[in-house]
């Protein structure tokens, strides 16, 4: 038995039956990291030694009969944008290369309260800006299915680590697709919760009206379990919402009979890779076979949503990233004679190209003379996008689209063309613009063996509906029994 191939719910079962200890599990993962991290490059900070120590402590407590959560002693990986007390939180930026968070993010407090063991901080595009993890200041993470391909992004380290078996599950963040797209590229499950379901406190802000933390897991059951841990109202984030302590695992019924699924035809047109399209069509047939009612519908807002996304996200980012001034934390230049130079040179040295590009775009759309033409217009288009979704949810329970128009692309193939990189987010961004929940679940591989993801979008706070729809598909399709990452070199 390879422990690193088990899901968390399987590990939990084995912990409960005393078939495995936390140390057995944690050691299996740290060994796997030893073996595979040199190929995958998923971690910014590894915590193997600390993790093994914690595992021993938890085993002793369990042995002594101390009351523990039934997930205590199971490891996890954390995207390096989430503040972890006493451990470096870098956002994969030179700006925060040496930043040690003085407190835990609320999601981290919840993870710790459950007794989960942090195996390390996972790589990402700098400040979560990117779709390939190539914009990390530290390293380029590789796709475990083919090491010449990107893992997607920005939560590419999290996705690759889960797919490669370097962590059993991970937390990511999603502002325009940063959980779902890498999940799709790496053949795992990734959920972006409804805006407000999960606290953003202690998560380095990129675009505050769009950012959400979410689970990245091997299967849908694990996804529901991790959502149970992180969801809920937090006093420290006024945009967070009370979800009434829902148990998302209970929503997994393996039954979609009568479920109304809308398939927006615009997401299957020009620009969608033919193999992606074919696998999605097979998935649609499977849903029909399983008793769902599937209908074609129209959602003609994809281009508007993408343009709106880049205007709104960059505007918010230019404001949020204003805090990096080289004074209280973060990179400080050595080259300055006055305060203004200190600010400018620290920022210019600390931020990478893509981050600067987005700050400049954001500053531009907010500047006098362009505010009305871009920013205000984008905010109105945001209303339009939300209205269009609302209309569809009067008729359908779930909307089904590809997660990404393509499978994972070659490392280096898009870094010189920012706009092309942005267009790759076309299927995911509208979900963030409207604040809806979306899940990516694997629905096949292409002729090169690269995973393809299906996105299921739900109405606000209807995580249970999309989780059940994803689960029912997964139980019938059995992706994990058919395909495994091959670490092709």
């Amino acid at each position: 038995m390879d422990i690193t191939e088990l899901t968390v719910h399987e590990l939990q079962e084995k912990l409960k039956n005393s078939e495995l200890t936390s140390y057995d599990i944690t050691k299996a993962y740290t060994d796997k990291i030893q073996e595979k991290e040199k190929d995958v490059q998923a971690f910014v900070t590894e915590l193997s030694e600390e993790a093994l120590k914690q595992a021993k402590e938890i085993d002793e407590k369990r042995k002594a009969g101390e009351e523990l959560s039934n997930l205590a002693g199971i490891p996890i990986g954390i995207k390096d944008i989430i503040c972890t007390k006493g451990v470096r939180t870098t956002c994969s930026s030179k700006m925060l290369e040496n930043f040690i968070a003085p407190y835990d993010a609320t999601v981290m407090e919840k993870v710790n309260a459950e007794g989960l063991i942090d195996l390390g901080k996972l790589n990402m595009d700098e400040f979560a800006m990117g779709g390939s993890t190539e914009y990390s200041y530290f390293k380029k993470t590789r796709n475990p299915w083919n090491l010449n391909k990107v893992p997607g992004g920005s939560s590419g380290g999290s996705a690759a680590a889960v797919a490669a078996g370097l962590v059993p599950w991970a937390l990511g963040t999603d502002t325009g697709g940063s959980i779902r797209q890498p999940a799709s590229f790496c053949g795992i499950v990734g959920l972006k919760p409804t805006y407000g379901l999960v606290s953003r406190y202690g998560v380095v802000a990129f675009a505050s009206s769009l950012d959400q933390v979410g689970p990245m897991t091997k299967d849908v059951t694990d996804c529901a379990m991790l959502l149970n841990i992180i969801a809920g109202r937090d006093e420290k984030d006024t945009t967070s919402v009370d979800n009434g302590d829902k148990d998302y695992v209970k929503s997994l019924k393996n039954d979609v009979k009568g479920l109304k699924i809308g398939v927006p035809k615009e997401y299957f047109g020009e620009g969608i890779n033919s193999e992606v399209k074919q696998k999605l069509e097979e998935a649609i047939e499977r849903y029909k076979k399983l008793g769902a009612i599937v209908e074609e519908c129209s959602l003609d807002i994809a281009d508007y949503a993408l343009a709106t996304y880049y205007i709104v996200a960059c505007a918010e980012a230019s404001s949020n990233l204003g805090r990096f001034d080289g004074i209280r934390y973060g990179h400080r230049t050595e080259n300055f004679t006055n305060l203004k130079e200190l600010y400018r040179n620290s920022r210019s040295e600390g931020f990478g190209d893509e981050v600067k590009r987005r700050i400049i775009l954001g500053t531009y759309v907010l500047s006098s003379g362009y505010y009305d033409a871009y920013y205000k217009k984008a905010q109105q288009v945001r209303t339009l996008v939300m209205n269009e979704f609302s209309k569809l949810f009067e008729k359908y329970d779930v909307l089904l689209t590809p997660t990404s128009p393509t499978v994972a692309f070659d490392v280096g193939s898009k870094t010189n063309n920012p706009l092309e990189m942005y267009l790759a987010d076309i299927c995911t961004v509208s979900v963030n613009i409207a604040g809806l929940p979306g899940i990516s679940v694997p629905c096949g591989v292409d002729s090169q063996g690269m995973p393809i993801g299906m996105q299921l979008i739900g109405n606000r706070f209807k995580e249970e509906t999309i989780l059940n729809a994803a689960y029912t598909f997964e139980q019938d399709y059995k992706f994990r029994e058919k395909y495994k990452p091959q670490f092709v070199k």
């Binding site: 343009a307 033409a373 288009v381 209303t383 339009l384």
Partner: protein
């Protein structure tokens, strides 16, 4: 559609407290123009009479009690300071 000039780009970079090297200016100009050309599609959307949306949640005030929670770990805050003196952040002279 807006055409971005070099002067405008430098003005914006100045507002954002960023330096652009000479060799960066042309690339940024090109990228910015590309992205703005695409983003201009928002001006084609029919948004007449639509309100703006600032956030995805219902816009209402969330109140809480104004209670002081003390954070005593000054050391962990100051350990991130690029320069400090005693328990203070050190910055260059503000008034020349």
């Amino acid at each position: 559609m807006a055409q971005v000039s070099k002067e405008e780009l430098l003005h914006i970079a100045n507002l954002a407290n960023l330096n652009l090297k000479d060799e960066e200016i042309d690339t940024y100009l090109l990228n910015l123009q590309d992205i703005l050309n695409f983003a201009d599609i928002v001006n084609k959307a029919n948004v007449e009479g639509l309100d703006i949306t600032v956030g995805a949640n219902e816009a209402k005030n969330i109140f809480r009690k104004d209670e002081v929670v003390e954070f005593k770990d000054t050391e962990s805050l100051l350990q991130n300071a690029p320069e400090k003196e005693r328990n203070m952040f050190k910055i260059p002279k503000v008034i020349q």
